[in-house]
Amino acid sequence: MRIALGVLGVALGAWGAWLLLPQITIELLLWLGGGVVLHDLVIAPLVGASGFVVRRPSVGIGLVTTGIVGILAVPLLWREHGGPVNPGLHDRDYPTGVAVVLGLIWAAVALHEVAAHLQKRRRTNKDHDVPE
């Protein structure tokens, strides 16, 4: 079963490579390798470093979500090579849209932190209550 799966995988991959072969250019190879380099040398170390700096889980979630929204927004905000804006396509106000989403994310983080802080204070107050 495992062997069959592996053989099938090699065959499908070879078929893809065969299809890609006549289309290979330096630029294509850069796009193929670029993601790995960008991830291993930039994105993952950034995530790791943020783990040392950020202590609150909610802030970490906020950062990760911000990163994902940022990645999704790149092709919409950086349009140097973009096609023409057509009626109904790519014609949203993307900067405002991104700002609104990020605003919502960080408002949720702030609300969560405030709620957690209040809860903690209430609990400590309760601990200080002297039983009658």
């Binding site: 495992r2 592996g6 890609l20 999704l72 096609g83």
Partner: protein, 348 residues
């Protein structure tokens, strides 16, 4: 050199296997729907019903691709420590395994990055997107199957309940965060095809207006001649003659390969009333060039009572950008094959 130590619960095999399973599902959906879309555009057999099928498959293609972005990053973060494992290679099988993973990761990033840019019709490269995206998809699937074949025993072991007893909370937190960011990514973009999300999806590559236009008459360099007539086999019709024929009204979506879709009401003459389709029909446009200047309408679609040469859109005469004087509208086909500015129909 001192190698980094990773102790976070995100790097536990149980987490890797779970995120990997989710990613396997989104990649699987993406591959199958992508293959279908390739088939529709390369004359593979494709049904005329349900009318929304392509709309759904291509919507799933794009949404599962978007969902794969946070999932892939979470998966790679989960296994990031393995990058620092020494020795780099222990044996020939180990070298092959690492090599297959490098291929898998590189090809996956390529597919997600080029797909995302293409959905936004943004091309910061000079290679041809459809054929490269298609070829690399096979490489992803091949390398993924090899990867699964290698890892089956570990996946099985790690998904057993017993292995997740300790530090369950923080592992769950990582999984929940992954699910949450995936949800945000999907909601932020799915409005391209899901109508009720249209206002919410601020990163959708379409707006909340009327039916989008992928290629304007100006961009296509289309000029309608004064004496325009539609050639249909041996016959020909002026616009007034077409308007005088029995009109049919249908509700059909435009479903673009880039994932967006929208329903609209079309009025016009049935193709089957214009031409006796004893075979596939070649549809030609007034466009001077472009990949989709002429398309082939398979016989089953040409005979379908829902397939029209539309003259009106949502009750109004077609605007130049929507294909004036007439355009093809057929059920269950990608938008690029719904030829605009039609000038001739011919049985092949």
């Amino acid at each position: 050199m001192k190698l980094p130590v990773f102790r976070a619960p995100a790097h536990h095999t149980g987490v890797t296997s779970r995120v990997g399973t989710w990613l396997g599902i989104t990649f699987g959906l993406c591959f199958v729907t992508g293959l279908l879309s390739h088939g529709v555009q390369h004359d593979w057999p494709w049904p005329t019903r349900p009318v929304d099928l392509y709309r759904v498959t291509q919507g799933v293609h794009v949404i599962s691709g978007v969902a794969s972005i946070p999932l892939l990053l979470a998966k790679l973060w989960s296994v990031y420590p393995k990058l620092f494992e020494r020795p780099l290679v222990r044996s020939v099988p180990h070298a092959l395994e690492r090599g297959s993973i490098l291929v898998l990761v590189a090809a996956s990033f390529f597919e997600l990055a080029t797909g995302l840019f293409n959905a936004a019709q943004n091309y910061p490269w000079s290679f041809y997107f459809p054929t490269t995206h298609y070829a690399v998809a096979w490489i992803v699937v091949g390398a993924l199957l090899v990867h699964i074949a290698v890892k089956i025993p570990r996946i099985r072991r790690s998904l057993e309940p017993a292995s997740t007893e300790k530090t369950v909370l923080s592992r769950r937190a990582f999984l929940r965060t992954t699910a949450l960011t995936t949800g945000v990514a999907v909601v932020a973009t799915a409005g391209v095809t899901v109508p009720w999300l249209r206002k919410v999806s601020v990163l959708a590559w379409r707006s909340d207006g009327g039916l989008p236009v992928n290629r304007t008459a100006k961009a296509a360099n289309v000029v309608v001649p004064q004496d325009w007539r539609l050639r249909a086999g041996t016959k020909s019709y002026s616009l007034a003659e077409l308007q005088a024929m029995p009109q049919t009204t249908v509700e059909l979506p435009i479903a673009c390969v880039e994932g967006w879709s929208q329903n609209a009401t079309w009025t016009g003459v049935r193709i089957s009333e214009l031409i006796d389709a004893q075979g596939d029909v070649r549809v030609e446009s007034l466009e001077k060039d472009g990949l989709y200047r002429a398309t082939t309408l398979p016989e089953a679609f040409a005979r379908d009572p829902l397939t029209l040469l539309a003259l009106r859109l949502n009750g109004e005469e077609l605007s130049p950008d929507h294909g004036y004087p007439c355009r093809l509208i057929a059920p269950n086909r990608p938008g690029v094959l719904q030829t605009k500015w039609v000038t001739s129909l011919e049985v092949r």
